[in-house]
Structures are given as structure tokens and as C-alpha cells.
């Protein structure tokens, strides 16, 4: 995929990774390009040909993630969008080794973490954290907020390699409350005493307790009402700027993803079909699926009635279509699409698409 989003001009030819595709053609040379060429623009997180297959009864299998390669640069927000079952959440979990991938490689800060033992992984976990969709289910209802937030600080040693003292932990808890704009008195309360938006602030505070570099957020605002959702999106943006965080932001809401993301990757049935700078992808989509997604989003404006851009439902990931995985619903399908799988190819600088007949930029 692409290199640093800040220097898009020199990527497409210089960076061999840009040619890496998730199809079979990408396998052969994937290993040779793992070493970052330049430390200044070295990706914080790299994924090479990552797959996650679930075995089902009767010999069937479900490829939730199907040969994905991507780089996440330090300080960027990569939005992962797609409809249900596209594998965006599974990919998010695989990135942090919450789910073990079936094949492929994950490099965090240049280190291959794909097969690291839990023990060896633990120090790295401090620098990679997750925020989940269900703010209630992710907080133990029987423990006070202060105890919940102190746990990671007690489990992991401090920066000096020694156990944190209670005074240090208390100080950190107060800092965290300030970071997410909650009063210090919240530390003595239980999760049920908070609204959904406040609970999500607590989840964010817990994710930030150990000062991570990477935060994977899986649909962190989907369960919130619109008026509260905007507060949390703003909070994510503020924290990113303030702490120099890197996010992988998984969401199905294109408008929310656009608000927060530097780059966007569009997934369909386990694969990335398009990736690039946020507004380049959303406003000038090269993949017919991205175009359909953006057209299908109901917008709060009264205007001419728009016709549904696609017919039919997403095929079952168990019986993935041959050739291009989108060909069964594609309005511009051709014979070639039914047999030959397209690989991710650059259409413009920093913008890759997996389509035999990419749409022209309008």
C-alpha cells in the first residue's frame, strides 16, 4: 500500500509496497519488503498478507480477513469502513493480536508480533490499545471507575521498569479524568451511574492509561445518540492532536470516518477494495462499491429522491463470489470480473483500488 500520507508524491514508484496486493500475486514479494526503508517515515504498524479463516462445520470455512496488506503511519488516522461482515472488526482485533491471524504478518514498530507469545507481547500491549463499541459491556459493572482505570497501571511496570506507587497511580488517574473531561469524583462511581457518552469517555481513559502509541477503536461511537456522538468524535480528534496518537478507526458510518480520518480503507468481504486519502476516496471513488456506499448514505438534506445504488444483499462470506468479490452486485460488471480477481493497484498517487475498470475521477 501507500507510504507516508504526508509525502504522497514519492510513493507509487519508490515504495515497492505500493505494488503489494492482497491477491496471489502479492505473496511472492511480500517478505522482501518488510524492512522499512526510512526510519523517519517507518510505519508504526504494518500488515502483510494477513488472513483470518474460521473453520465451520461440514468442511466449510469463512475467510473473515482475506490477504490484507497495509501500513499505518505514525500520527495518522486510518479509517476502516465497510458493511457488516466485511471483516473490519476482525482485522482490527487481529492488528492487536486480540484474535490470532491464520496467516500473514503483523509488524508493530518494526517488530514482528505475529507469533510472539503472550508473555513477550505484554510489554508491547502498553503501546497498543483498543476501544470497543459497547461501552457498558467493556466495563466491569461491579468495580469502581478508579479501580478499573488503575488496573493496567498496576499490571504493567512504570517507565522506569519498577512498580508504580499508589501516589503515582492516583496522579495518573486524575490526569486521565482531565484528559477525557470527566470530574475526579467519577473515579468513585460505578459504570451504571454514567450515560453512554460518559462511559465511552471512561473506556477511552482506560485505553490511554499506559500512554499507548496506537489505539484501535472498533465502532466507538456507533451506539451513541447523534448529539453525544459528536462529543466523542471531537474527543478522539483532540486526544490525537494533543498526544500524537495513531488511530485505526473502524466504523460503518462514512460521515463519522470522514470527520476523523487521514486515510480511508474500504473493505468488502474480507479484502480492501480501495484505500487512499479520505476525501480523495469518498469524493472521487475509483471502486464502484465505494461509489455505491457514498451514494447510499442518507444525508440530512431534503432534495431529489435518489435511487438505491445497489441491488441485493452482501453475499455470504462463506460462499465468496469468484473473480472480483464485488461482481455479483456491481452495476458495471464485465466478463473479466467474474473470473479474474483484481488486485490493489494505484490509480492516483496514494490511492489504490482493486478493480479492473476503475471509475474516472470526476
Amino acid at each position: 500500500m501507500t507510504g507516508s500520507p504526508s509525502s504522497p508524491a514519492d510513493q507509487s514508484s519508490a515504495d515497492p509496497v505500493a505494488q503489494t496486493a492482497h491477491g496471489p500475486s502479492g505473496h511472492a514479494n511480500a517478505k522482501t519488503m518488510l524492512r522499512p526503508t526510512d526510519t523517519a517515515t517507518a510505519p508504526l504498524l504494518s500488515v502483510r498478507d494477513l488472513s483470518k479463516t474460521y473453520d465451520l462445520p461440514r468442511g466449510q470455512s469463512l475467510k473473515a480477513v482475506d490477504g490484507i496488506s497495509l501500513d499505518v503511519m505514525p500520527g495518522e488516522v486510518l479509517g476502516l469502513v465497510g458493511e457488516s461482515g466485511c471483516g473490519k472488526s476482525t482485522l482490527g482485533r487481529c492488528l492487536l493480536r486480540l484474535t490470532d491471524a491464520t496467516s500473514g504478518q503483523i509488524l508493530f514498530e518494526g517488530q514482528d508480533i505475529t507469533r510472539l507469545s503472550e508473555r513477550a507481547l505484554r510489554p508491547l500491549r502498553q503501546r497498543m490499545q483498543m476501544v470497543f463499541q459497547d461501552s457498558y459491556a467493556s466495563l466491569n459493572p461491579r468495580r469502581r471507575i478508579g479501580d478499573l482505570l488503575a488496573e493496567p497501571l498496576k499490571v504493567h511496570p512504570g517507565p522506569d521498569g519498577r512498580k508504580r506507587t499508589p501516589a503515582v497511580i492516583t496522579g495518573r488517574l486524575h490526569d486521565l479524568m482531565e484528559l477525557v473531561s470527566l470530574p475526579v469524583t467519577a473515579l468513585d462511581r460505578y459504570p451504571h451511574e454514567f450515560s453512554g457518552g460518559q462511559r465511552q469517555r471512561i473506556n477511552i481513559a482506560r485505553a490511554l492509561a499506559l500512554s499507548p502509541r496506537l489505539v484501535v477503536a472498533d465502532e466507538p461511537v456507533s451506539a451513541l445518540d447523534v448529539s453525544v456522538q459528536a462529543q466523542i468524535v471531537n474527543l478522539f480528534a483532540d486526544l490525537q492532536a494533543q498526544l500524537g496518537l495513531t488511530y485505526v478507526f473502524v466504523a460503518h458510518d462514512l460521515a463519522v470516518v470522514r470527520q476523523i480520518s487521514t486515510r480511508v480503507a474500504v473493505m468488502y468481504l474480507g479484502a480492501i477494495v480501495e484505500i487512499g486519502e479520505t476525501d480523495d476516496v469518498l469524493h472521487h471513488p475509483a471502486h464502484p462499491y465505494t461509489a455505491a456506499l457514498t451514494q447510499a448514505v442518507p444525508r440530512p438534506e431534503v432534495g431529489a429522491l435518489r435511487h438505491p445504488p445497489l441491488r441485493g444483499d452482501i453475499p455470504s462470506p462463506v460462499a465468496r463470489p469468484s473473480g472480483c468479490r464485488f461482481h455479483t452486485r456491481c452495476p458495471a460488471v464485465e466478463d473479466r470480473c467474474r473470473t479474474e480477481e483484481p488486485t490493489l493497484q494505484p490509480v492516483r498517487s496514494g490511492h489504490d483500488v482493486a478493480c479492473h475498470f476503475p471509475l474516472a475521477a470526476n
Binding site: 447510499a296 442518507p298 440530512p300 431534503v302 452482501i314
Partner: protein, 365 residues
């Protein structure tokens, strides 16, 4: 009130006046829905929009007579073709439900029983209301499924709910709801569980029901985008009360209530300039127990001032030919300007103490 009038084309299909639903809690009655009034014309789609806890689903359930929790008190009037629904005995309600008024829900998986095929369940509904043979009922079922855009309807009718995708299940549920040609379809978040590309198809289907089946639709949703694209008229609920009502085009172009304005502004734009920060509404909606005596939105409103705080809450005030907002601003001669486009900033509220269970941590974001 039109309690004694016979149904006639001039009458609205549904005329709801001062509907109140109160649930007992801790020895007293908590009003969940307060004085909700609206009319729904024949072949009209009315959007009931609000955040969670705004009372939109409770309103619909009350109309259908589906609230049976002990001690609940429902007052007001809801005339369906001149017939009073509030207080109607279950036996008579049952005759209306399904045949005259049908309802579809967010989750079609739980609306179907998993142990019978889709077709069997739709057949049963048809035969419960009309004297038809199994064969005739199945023919109608297959035809309906086909009309709803279900591919290969005869085979799909023989499938069990779990064998269908979410979009197909929702189509099957709409087919079942329409099987007796109801005059009114109540759709409670019918597309919330669906993906956007499938949602667009179902909304298109619902829009077309007016002409294809002559149905009126009461569409309950939290999504302002769905309302804008689907509904003729819009009713904005906030904390169990009507904040604003009017033709959808007017409500979206010139919202009369600060809540409507702020809600629209807090939706991130997909096109146009990307704001540095979203104009979020501070705080959270009040719990019914802590609802302020005056305007329920007052504590979060950027325009809040003394008249907003006193009981009773502001009454609906006409802000257009058929648009009204429950706000003191238009009554005071200072209505809101037309809707601001992107870049508009809702500043922090004057009052900083939302009545939520917690003192305003979200006010600072």
C-alpha cells in the same frame, strides 16, 4: 375532536391528540410521553424522529395497544379513521391490528418465530384475517414477497428466517405487514439494523408503498438522514415531548427549535468543508425523572433564558404555514435564522448544569 364523525377522505387517517403515557416507578407515575399530538394523512409518510429515550417507540406502542405493563396510564386521544384507539378493548384492537394497522420492527429475526418457514407465517396472518384456503393464501404470500423485491419468492417462502439475510428478512416482514393491505404501517427503526446499501433499498420500498399499496406510514427513526429522504412530514421528539413538527422540507431548511438546529449541526458532513470540530450538543438528554419543569432542552440550549426555565414547558408555536416549534424564541419575536450550513458552531450553553445524573462532564468537550 372528531369522535362521532364517520371516516371520510377529508379526515386524517390518524389524529393523535395530547397522548400521554406514564409508567409507575417508585410509587409515582413517570411521564414518558407527554402531550404528543400529530395527524397523519392518507398516503402520507410521517417521520417520528428523536434520540434514544425520546419516547418515539413508546408512542407507537401505545397507538398499537401493545403496552401492557401493569399500572401504565395512557391518556389523550388517538383517532384512527374516527375510531378511538386509546382504551379500546383488546378484542376490538385485535380486529384492527394486522388488517388495518400493521407494525414492523427493527429486528426482523425476533419478529418471526424461528421454527416455521417465512411463508407459513405470512400464510397464517392472511388466514387469520381472511377466509382463504391454504393454497390461496400461499399464492398471495408469494405474490407479496415478489412485490417486495424478494428474488425467487416461491422458494424463499419455504425458507426459515435464519436462512435469509437481514435485508431479505426485513422485506419478508414488510410483506407480512402488508398482507392484509393495512391503511397504516407503523415502522419502528425498520432499517437501523441494516447496512446502508440495503437500507437504501428498503427505504425506496417504503416510499413506494404509498402508491403501490395506498398505505400511510409512521416511520420511527433516530436518523435525520432517513427522515430527510423518506418522510413528507417530520415530528421531532425530545425527552417525551414534541419539540417541532412540520413538512420535512421546511423543518430541514428552517428549523424552528434550537434542538432541531443543534441536532442537524452535530451530524458530520460527508461533503463540503470538514469542520475542525463538530458542533456537538453539550450534556445528554435528561432522564424522565429529572426532566426540567420548563423546556426539557433548556439546560443544553445555547439560547436558554429565564422564560425557558419556568413551568409549563413552552407550547407549540406556529413558525410556518404548517410548521410549529415548542420554543419561546418565535413567540418572543426572535425566531431562529435559516439552517446554518457547515462551519456553523453551536457555542457552549449558558447554563452549565445538565440535570443528568452527573454534573456536566460532557459540557466541556
Amino acid at each position: 375532536m372528531h369522535a362521532d364523525t364517520m371516516p371520510s377522505p377529508a379526515l386524517p387517517l390518524l389524529d393523535v391528540r395530547n397522548l400521554c403515557v406514564s409508567f409507575p416507578s417508585g410509587g409515582r407515575l413517570i411521564p414518558i410521553v407527554e402531550n404528543v399530538s400529530f395527524t397523519l394523512a392518507e398516503q402520507e409518510i410521517l417521520g417520528l424522529v428523536g434520540e434514544s429515550g425520546s419516547g418515539k417507540s413508546v408512542t407507537a406502542m401505545a397507538l398499537m395497544g401493545l403496552i401492557d405493563s401493569p399500572g401504565v396510564v395512557i391518556t389523550g386521544s388517538a383517532l384512527f379513521r374516527g375510531q378511538e384507539l386509546v382504551g379500546l378493548p383488546q378484542k376490538q384492537l385485535r380486529r384492527l391490528r394486522g388488517r388495518q394497522i400493521a407494525m414492523i420492527f427493527q429486528d426482523p429475526m425476533t419478529a418471526f418465530t424461528p421454527v416455521y418457514t417465512i411463508g407459513w407465517q405470512i400464510d397464517e396472518q392472511i388466514r387469520a384475517h381472511e377466509k382463504l384456503s391454504r393454497k390461496q393464501a400461499r399464492a398471495r404470500t408469494v405474490q407479496l414477497l415478489g412485490e417486495m423485491g424478494v428474488p425467487d419468492p416461491a422458494r424463499t417462502a419455504d425458507r426459515y428466517p435464519h436462512q435469509l439475510s437481514g435485508g431479505l428478512r426485513q422485506r419478508a416482514m414488510i410483506a407480512m405487514a402488508l398482507s392484509c393491505n393495512p391503511a397504516l404501517l407503523i415502522a419502528d427503526e425498520p432499517t437501523t439494523a441494516l447496512d446502508v446499501t440495503v437500507q437504501a433499498q428498503i427505504l425506496d420500498l417504503i416510499r413506494n408503498l404509498r402508491t403501490s399499496h395506498g398505505s400511510s406510514v409512521l416511520l420511527i427513526t433516530h436518523d435525520m438522514g432517513v427522515v430527510a429522504e423518506t418522510c413528507d412530514a417530520t415530528l421531532v421528539l425530545y425527552s417525551g415531548r414534541v419539540a417541532e413538527t412540520g413538512p420535512t422540507a421546511d423543518v430541514f431548511a428552517r428549523p424552528g427549535h434550537p434542538y432541531t438546529t443543534a441536532l442537524l449541526a452535530s451530524i458530520p458532513p460527508l461533503y463540503g468543508a470538514r469542520p475542525d470540530r463538530l458542533p456537538a450538543i453539550a450534556g445528554a438528554p435528561p432522564a424522565p425523572l429529572h426532566r426540567p419543569a420548563g423546556c426539557a432542552f433548556g439546560p443544553r440550549c445555547q439560547f436558554v433564558h429565564t422564560p425557558c426555565l419556568a413551568a409549563p414547558p413552552p407550547a407549540l408555536f406556529a413558525v410556518g404555514p404548517s410548521q410549529a416549534a415548542a420554543c419561546v424564541l418565535p413567540a418572543e419575536g426572535t425566531p431562529l435564522p435559516p439552517r446554518l450550513t457547515e462551519g456553523a458552531v453551536v457555542t457552549a450553553p449558558v447554563s452549565s448544569q445538565p440535570p443528568a445524573q452527573f454534573s456536566s462532564p460532557e459540557a466541556q468537550s
